[in-house]
Structures are given as structure tokens and as C-alpha cells.
């Protein structure tokens, strides 16, 4: 039986009087691919920021591989072997694609191994032709892939992605789907996403967020067939 690698107990995050995440109990198992969906303002991104240390939760607990990480800093959480990609491409514009990925590879490798690792990753995510370009010169979809390269260079066992397909064109989305499926052979994934076509293509199990809480958790077909989810997406009250 698969082991639980990430769980939250009664996780809450408040901004003044606004409750963005409300008593969320969440578990993720080894090699699982979980999509977090929900309408705008449902609390998905805030939940993402809480588990990655970008926000300190107001109450509740977060456990990663049975270790409490509730108040850890982002770099400490990342050092556990977790790859994190934020919603807006978070890259170093003034450095080349190669250098961006090298910084991540160097974190866990010596210089020679880091160089080798960068070449591997660049080939894996199909950006060999732009490897020497400055990231600031690249299109949005390419920047998204560069950031994914940064994430993969550290060889994570858990990858957390916030809207990886946001702003991408059709062919870029197809490549992203391929890359995500490939990552999932070795690592677990949590993907926060809006695009239902994208989710259908990759999702196994889906967690639906609504008003800061989990509305339902099931496989993609059941979620899409559920009347409450439809109502939520159409803006009706549940």
C-alpha cells in the first residue's frame, strides 16, 4: 500500500477577516498525481503557498514524510527534495536558460555532475535550441518550460506546480502534458490548475476547492459529473 507523503490537518489561512483556506485536511500518497481545481478565489493558490512555505498558515499542521513543516521556510521545504513552480514564471531573466537550470542542479550536485544534469534536463524538456538564450528574451510558454527545467534539475520526489499550462499555446500544452506524465513515473505531483482540458489529459484524482474548503475529492470523471462542481464553476451557490 502506498505511503502518505504529504498531509495537512485542519489547515487554515486568514488574511484579516477573509478566510482563504478553511480547516483543510488533505493527504497525498507516493507517486500520486493530484490536481487541485476550483473557481477563482477558492483557496487553491493560498493552499499551494501554505504547503510550500510561501505563506505561514494561521492554524493547523502540515506534515511532509511524517515531519512537521508547518512553519518551515521555503528553502527548507525545497531541501527535502520538493520541486516547486509558481503561477507566474519565476525565472532569472538576466541569465541564460542553461544558467537558470544550472543553479538548481548545482544545489544538490558538484560542478561536473551539475553540468551533466543540466544537459540531461534540457534534452528531457525539449529546449536544446534555446539553451544559450537569455530567459528574458523567451516567449511565455518557453519561460514556463525553463521553470519546469529548474524544478526537474534538482531531481525532486514531489513536484508542486501552480498552473503550469497558464498562458500556453496548444503545442506547448501538449509538450507540458508529456513532461508531466514523464515526471509522474518517478515522482508524485500536486498540480493547481484551471484548464479543464489540461486536467482531463493528466489527472488521476482531483480535489475540488470551494470557498477555502475541500468540496469533493474523487477521480476526474466523477468530479466532472458531479452537479455541485458544475454549480460551483457556473457561479451558483452550493
Amino acid at each position: 500500500m502506498s505511503q502518505v507523503i504529504l498531509e495537512t490537518h485542519n489547515l487554515s489561512m486568514k488574511f484579516g477577516g477573509v478566510v482563504a483556506v478553511d480547516n483543510v485536511d488533505f493527504t497525498l500518497k507516493e507517486n500520486e498525481l493530484r490536481c487541485l481545481i476550483g473557481p477563482n478565489g477558492a483557496g487553491k493558490s493560498t493552499f499551494f503557498k501554505c504547503i510550500t512555505g510561501l505563506h505561514k498558515p494561521t492554524s493547523g499542521n502540515i506534515y511532509i514524510q511524517n515531519e512537521e513543516t508547518t512553519h518551515w521556510h521555503t528553502h527548507e521545504i525545497s531541501q527535502l527534495g520538493i520541486g516547486i513552480k509558481t503561477q507566474i514564471p519565476n525565472v532569472m531573466d538576466g541569465l541564460s536558460v542553461w544558467e537558470n537550470i544550472w543553479l538548481s542542479a548545482r544545489r544538490y550536485n558538484d560542478v561536473n555532475n551539475a553540468n551533466r544534469r543540466v544537459d540531461e534536463v534540457i534534452e528531457r524538456i525539449k529546449i536544446t535550441d534555446i539553451a544559450k538564450k537569455m530567459v528574458g528574451e523567451l516567449a511565455h510558454g518557453q519561460r514556463q518550460r525553463v521553470e519546469l527545467g529548474i524544478v526537474l534539475a534538482a531531481d525532486p520526489w514531489l513536484v508542486i506546480l501552480d498552473e503550469p499550462a497558464a498562458g500556453m499555446t496548444g503545442s506547448d500544452v501538449d509538450i507540458m502534458i508529456e513532461i508531466i506524465q514523464e515526471i509522474n513515473r518517478h515522482a508524485a505531483l500536486i498540480i493547481v490548475e484551471h484548464d479543464m482540458q489540461f486536467i482531463k489529459a493528466i489527472a488521476d484524482k482531483v480535489t475540488v476547492f470551494y470557498q477555502g474548503s475541500i468540496l469533493m475529492e474523487d477521480n476526474i470523471d466523477n468530479v466532472l459529473a458531479d452537479q455541485r462542481v458544475r454549480d460551483v464553476y457556473l457561479g451558483r451557490k452550493v
Binding site: H75, D93, G94, W102, A154
Partner: protein
């Protein structure tokens, strides 16, 4: 990753040494020594600002601490070698502690500016208020607003009677700045340097990768403090007196202006800014028609409006464009030359 071109480095060093021997024929060596000291000070801020994104409004604090430390240790020890080393370590340690408070406290850039500025002001006030005999460290009296004169200036290590002064002092300053430049050049190309550069560009991404940004910024800040301290120690030996004015806001502002005019993001920019503005200050200081600070302010406005990247990056861009155009012309010429014999062969 950018590889180090050793040939360029050797040519650069040889050129610098040639310039070192030519310059005293053009400008008085006493002024040149001061310009080099200012250049090291500018480099200390340019390095942390341009590469690590740390804009410190109080770099003069470390400069002053370096100068005062040198004077205090030199009076107590008598010989200059140990005071010189301690004058670098003391401000570096001070910067390390201050940096740790700022960066581990997760204070934003605005507060970094405010805190460093306030620390400079506090040091200025404190140094000005130490006229009484109770303000002494060992044999060294701090001297209040009048400062501290009569300390041992730089000497050949182990020989307190053999002073390094006049042309020798100029050569020493020049060699030190070349060493600083080479040291920082290698540092920016090391793993540590690349990470610091990346922090300057996107702090959050570096944190998401798993680097402790606070640690890197604190170390970088301490290196900047040590460099400023080094220039302070040289300044103390050059001026043979240290006064609270070293901590003044004017001094801090001037360092920032040097960096803006010269251009941050390169090692040569801050040096260029300090030398050019230092020279201008020197020449304008010899006349009484117009105030020095007005000229400085005017130059700053011109640069911010029309050359926001600063001199060094602009010149480098221009050089790149000219070089590319020449290369293209040469390629075109070569391709024409290749076609000509073919025509002949056909005919």
C-alpha cells in the same frame, strides 16, 4: 556557465600595470591614490548592489569603521600590518552582524536602506560626541569632532620605521585595487557568485530552489563591508587623520552616485564612476564659481534621465554594436572575395 577567459585576464592585468606607470605623469600621485581609495569604496557598494541586489545607503559606515579601526589599532599596536588586517575584519564583522539582523529578520529592501542610513547617522553622531578623555580605546582617544591624528601610517610589515608613502603608497593602492578586482572577478564566476547574481535577479526563485537566501546575502554584505573597511584603512593612512565626516550622509550619497554614474552590474562601472567624479570634484574644488555638490547633483540627474544604465554598460553596449558591425562588414568582404576567383574559374 560563463567560462573564465584567462588570456583576457592576463591582458587586463598587463594593461593595468602599464596604466599604473603612465598615470603619475598625467595626474599627481597624491590625488591618484585618493581616486583609487574611492574606487575601492565604490567597488564595495557596486559589488553588493550590482551582483546581489543589496542597495546599502550606509556604505560610508563601513568605510568610517575601517578608518577608525585602523587608527585605534595603529595607536595601540604601533606597527601597521595587524591594524590593517583588523581594519578590514572589524567592519566585515560589523556588516555580518548588521546583515544577519536585516536579512534573517526578513526586512524588505526599503528597511535595509533606512537601517543602514540610520546606522551611519548614529555612528556620525557618536563619533562627533567623543571629545572627552573617557572616550578612549586603550591608548587611542577618539577625539570627537576633531578626529584622531598622530597614528602610525602604513609601513613595510615588521619595520615600523619604514613608511609606505609618496609613490610607494600609490603603487600599493594600485596593486590592492587590481587584487580586489581579480578577487571579485573570480568570486562572481564561482558558484557562490552565480547564486548571488541570481538572488539579485529573483530572490524567490533561488529560495524555491532550496538556497538559504539570508545566508548568501549576509555573507555578500559582509564582503562589501570588508572592502569598504579596506578603503577606509587606506584612506586613514593617506589622510593621516580620521574624523567623523567619514560617516557623513554626503559621503554615503557620493558612493551611490559613483555607482549610478559608472553603472552597476559590472566591476569596472563603479571604479569608472569614482575616478571620473573624483577627478571632476578635484578640478571643481580648485575654483570658487560653482559649488561642487551642485555639479555632482546635475551629473546625477543627467545620468538618471539619459543614461540610466551608467557609463560602463553603455560603453560596453556601444563597443558591442561597433564590433558586430565591423565583423559583419568583414564577413561580407570575405564572401565577396571568395566569389571572385569562382567567376574567373568560370570564364
Amino acid at each position: 556557465m560563463q567560462k573564465i577567459n584567462h588570456r583576457h585576464l592576463i591582458i587586463g592585468v598587463m594593461l593595468s600595470v602599464t596604466v599604473m606607470f603612465i598615470l603619475p605623469n598625467l595626474i599627481e600621485h597624491y590625488t591618484l591614490s585618493l581616486l583609487i581609495i574611492y574606487s575601492i569604496l565604490a567597488l564595495s557598494l557596486g559589488f553588493i548592489w550590482g551582483f546581489g541586489g543589496i542597495l546599502c545607503f550606509g556604505q560610508a559606515a563601513f568605510f568610517g569603521i575601517g578608518a577608525y579601526s585602523y587608527a585605534v589599532y595603529a595607536i595601540n599596536i604601533g606597527e601597521s600590518s595587524i591594524p590593517f588586517i583588523l581594519a578590514i575584519l572589524t567592519p566585515a564583522l560589523f556588516a555580518l552582524i548588521l546583515g544577519a539582523v536585516i536579512f534573517y529578520g526578513r526586512l524588505s529592501d526599503v528597511y535595509l536602506g533606512v537601517i543602514t542610513l540610520v546606522v551611519t547617522l548614529i555612528l556620525f553622531r557618536f563619533a562627533s560626541a567623543t571629545a572627552g578623555p573617557e572616550y578612549a580605546i586603550g591608548k587611542a582617544r577618539l577625539g570627537g569632532f576633531n578626529g584622531m591624528p598622530n597614528f602610525q601610517t602604513l609601513n613595510i610589515p615588521g619595520m615600523p620605521d619604514r613608511y609606505i608613502w609618496d609613490m610607494d603608497f600609490y603603487y600599493l593602492c594600485f596593486i590592492i585595487i587590481i587584487m580586489c578586482f581579480i578577487g571579485l572577478f573570480f568570486l562572481t564566476r564561482s558558484s557562490f557568485g552565480r547564486i548571488c547574481i541570481a538572488i539579485g535577479q529573483n530572490e524567490q526563485r533561488i529560495e524555491l530552489i532550496g538556497y538559504d537566501v539570508r545566508k548568501y546575502k549576509t555573507i555578500l554584505f559582509a564582503i562589501g563591508g570588508g572592502l569598504a573597511g579596506l578603503s577606509g584603512a587606506l584612506y586613514a593612512s593617506w589622510a593621516e587623520i580620521v574624523t567623523p565626516n567619514l560617516f557623513s550622509l554626503g559621503q554615503s550619497a557620493e558612493i551611490i552616485i559613483w555607482c549610478i554614474v559608472g553603472g552597476v552590474g559590472s566591476l569596472s562601472g563603479p571604479i569608472l564612476g569614482a575616478v571620473l567624479l573624483g577627478l571632476l570634484k578635484y578640478y571643481f574644488g580648485q575654483q570658487s564659481y560653482i559649488d561642487n555638490n551642485l555639479v555632482l547633483g546635475f551629473i546625477l540627474i543627467i545620468f538618471v534621465l539619459f543614461l540610466p544604465n551608467g557609463l560602463a554598460p553603455t560603453l560596453s553596449q556601444l563597443w558591442g554594436k561597433v564590433f558586430k558591425r565591423k565583423n559583419r562588414q568583414r564577413k561580407n568582404l570575405n564572401s565577396k572575395r571568395v566569389r571572385m576567383p569562382n567567376k574567373k574559374a568560370v570564364s
